[in-house]
Amino acid sequence: MSRLESVNDFVIKFANVNGTGSASANNLFAKAIFRMGIPVSPKNIFPSNIQGLPTWYEVRINDRGYLGRRGGIDIALSVNPQSMAQDIREVEPGGYFIYDNTKPLDLRLLRDDVNIIGIPLTQICNEQYDDPRQRQLFKNVIYVGALAALLDMDFKVLTALVGDQFKGKKKLVLPNIHALELGHQYARTHLDCPIGIRVEQSDKVGDKILLDGNTALGLGALYGGATVAAWYPITPSTSVVEAFEKYAKRVRIDPGTGQRNYAIVQAEDELSAIGMAIGASWNGARAFTATSGPGVSLMSEFLGLAYFAEIPTVLFNVQRAGPSTGMPTRTQQSDILACAYASHGDTKQVLLFPSTPKECFDFGAMSFDLAERLQTPIILMTDLDLGMNDNMSEPLAWDDERKYDRGKVITAEQLESGVEFGRYLDVDGDAICYRTYPGTHPTKGAFFTRGTSRDEYAVYTEKGEAYEANMLRLLRKWDTINEHVPPPITHDCGRETDTAVLFFGTSEESSREALDSLAAENIFMNAMRVRAFPFNDEVQKFIERHKQVFVIEQNRDAQFRTLLMAEFEFGPDILKSVLCFDGTPISARNIRKQIKKHLNGDNVLPLHRKIASIRAGESQ
């Protein structure tokens, strides 16, 4: 039988039962690879469930630093009988299927093109432990020990990690190391070690860190000076505010009084959450809320108010698969249009698209400066894949000289000296007006904030001209905003080409890899990663330079492409779609396959075949 052979380049998928403590063991494995200097990209594929349903953990290990999903599974490690049939089916020919053989494998599942490796995990646990909970927990640690032998990992790295992980809980260190040794010992004695796939110490990680985007966002809010966080729990955004709270408890307690320099409110719903963020921002504090799709729908009315009344608002949207409740624990980039034009009437909202934890941190902190400078909502668009998975990232950094940009605010002294104040008076010609905080001056500078039409002095009016002038100013303000948001990043392929790809957020890594593999087939394309809406002029020029631009995105309806068409009036002859919306992060193989299909002229398909072809690509 053939067997896959590789060093530091494979995909392994763990199949577990939700709620059995597998996550920390699987983490231990990924982190050990990372500590061996090998780039690693773990992805949690979990159900909307607390205990009992199948859950997976897919780890990409790649010496060349490709961190996106590749597609395909080289090694499946299955300790969940519920999903075993599916798990073995997914293994690439020549790959490996490792399972708990305490119970014999159902013969109908056998594949003769896959290397089957049995480890009697349950039996080992039953012999070693009396306590049922220990049997369950250590089973996971034992298979990590066995994997270390099968993949020729540095065992010392694992034991050191256990020491770090249980710092302060010394009692747990030895039993965990013992369990690792049990697995390691069993594999070395009974199995052919290493298998064709193995790891070697490397130096490709540099000073990078392994961090999830939500924690990075929570830290970004902390560094960005947020003092009020209002939220309603919703997967996959919950850990944003939890991270903010965790660090705020450490560093935001006043040393003199012991009181908190922050306030976190778990609201009764998302409407209230964003209302609180808006109220706090209106009153001069930096405030934010975090949510996901259904929350965005509920927040839309308030987003319209904040747009129209020009109140700084920061919203972190960790996207998941919609519509409605959709697949709440799966990833997508499918709130693009719902956010870009959030709320009724004519609205345009500022969107930021980070693609790494470092960018989550940077953009997270930047959101507060932008919101106050531009006096409008800033919606940071991340997703479950970036938010909840450990992503390899540049380390976080902060310039200690940096000052917060509090935007255009008139003080009591300025009012006293006779400065003319009209809340919606465009004094500087950039369509951004001055505001006052409530409580500034006893007799000057008060105004009425409202979602109804008003004149430049914030006085209610239903005069058509005044309304129109205000709406046109908001459009001019959009141009000013354009100069403030992060510009796109262009990758020139260095060859003559009239095709390009355009992507944003978490499609970056897979797109980069797909482009490299296409280049190896002599298909060269330029690339652009968009980082914000409004789109910078560079985006327009980039598209105009090419005959065909593939817009890569993770939703069904090509929402980003629609947005490009709406803003720039490009037609479908120029913008082509590469889509993935099955709830898993888009893979490099999928992107390559869809692009090649287009380039081969298969793009002019009758509708029913087009739908079928999308389906074929979706789970690749």
Partner: protein
């Protein structure tokens, strides 16, 4: 349309301790219907704030949507105002109050804005004991959309349209008590002598202070079949007692009858004197307040006055233990932990 009030004032208008006349607490000319109860409430707010010598800019007035929510334009012109979205004033006040604990938050809402679309936010603001005055201008109907019944309309009561309401009424005082409000009162827009001291007491109270003010809608709900008409309310009101508000520093000159009178010192040092009329009610006991409300509902009378006050109220800031310095006054030095901590965090993530 709102109009600016003419600037001319009688030079002899009395000044308060800060040197302001009552006119300094007024707003734009009302565009509500002539005779609207809401305008009387606005007048009571102006009087209370003037007499208490509150600096006008230390108040923030917030509202939702509806006739009642238009009212803040017509008082406290030197205060910042916020006309939020329908039923969502409480969340905006919550955020604002968290940002700056030093301002006085005056929320104005209506029965549609509170008892229907905003019921959730109203309940949760009460539950959190947000430090605010929450005034409901309660007329039992939707005015701006021309007279539909609201959720506080009594069963059997009819607006000008004529069809009796078939649903039971939501009693906002009862609801607020259930939800944990620490100051609950009801009044009538036509009874300024009762309303003004209640507003003062609510302002002095630290915590969520609801005043449900029955405020007849002269256009749609002031007809004989209505239980929210001027006539009906005048005939069916029963006051719990009367209260006097005594500001800090002012000598107490009145004589109070023992037994039926209570003096309560508020957190800001001022005090209120309560003369009980209703023998069954102990306004410092929530159970008593709830049962007295139920009694009056049973007899069809409207219980007005102070219904409940928790003298030991702890507001949201106290419960959350937030900084005494308002959060909106903290700067980089207070808020940003600096790069050194990031170096440590980075190291822990390798």
């Amino acid at each position: 349309m709102s109009y600016q009030v003419p600037k001319f004032r009688h030079p002899g208008l009395p000044l308060n301790e800060l040197g302001y006349t009552k006119a300094d607490y007024e707003g734009a000319i009302s565009t509500l219907c002539a005779g609207c109860g809401h305008d009387s409430i606005s007048g009571a707010i102006v009087r209370a704030c003037h007499e208490m010598s509150i600096e006008p800019h230390k108040i923030a007035k917030l509202s939702g949507i509806g006739c009642s929510s238009k009212a803040p334009t017509y008082f406290l012109g030197n205060s910042h105002g916020f006309n939020a979205v329908h039923g969502r004033m409480p969340s905006v006040v919550t955020g604002a109050a968290l940002a700056n604990r030093e301002l006085l938050y005056m929320g104005v809402s209506g029965d549609g804005d509170t008892a229907s679309i905003g019921m959730g936010q109203f309940a949760h603001a009460a539950r959190r004991n947000l430090n605010m005055v929450y005034i409901v201008m309660n007329n039992g109907c939707y005015g701006l959309t021309k007279g539909q019944d609201s959720a506080t309309a009594d069963r059997g009561s009819a607006t000008k349209k004529g069809d009796p309401n078939i649903y039971s009424a939501i009693d906002l005082c009862g609801t607020a008590l259930q939800m944990g409000a620490t100051f609950v009162a009801r009044s009538f827009s036509g009874d300024k002598e009762q309303l003004v001291p209640l507003i003062k007491a609510a302002i002095s109270h630290r915590g969520f202070a609801l005043i449900d003010v029955v405020s007849p809608c002269v256009t749609f709900n002031n007809n004989p079949q209505s239980t929210k008409s001027y006539e009906f309310v005048r005939e069916h009101s029963e006051a719990t007692g009367t209260i006097d508000f005594v500001p800090l520093k002012k000598e107490i000159t009145a004589e109070y009858q023992a037994g039926q009178s209570y003096e309560v010192t508020m957190h800001d040092g001022s005090s209120i004197h309560l003369y009980k009329v209703d023998e069954t009610l102990d306004p410092f006991d929530r159970r008593s307040a709830i049962s007295t409300l139920e009694e009056h509902r049973y007899t069809g009378n409207i219980l007005t006055g102070l219904i409940y006050m928790n003298k030991d109220s702890r507001d949201l800031h106290e419960v959350m233990d937030t900084s005494q310095r308002p959060l909106n006054q903290l700067d980089e030095a207070d808020l940003c932990p600096g790069n050194k901590m990031l170096l440590n965090i980075n190291a822990s993530l390798r």
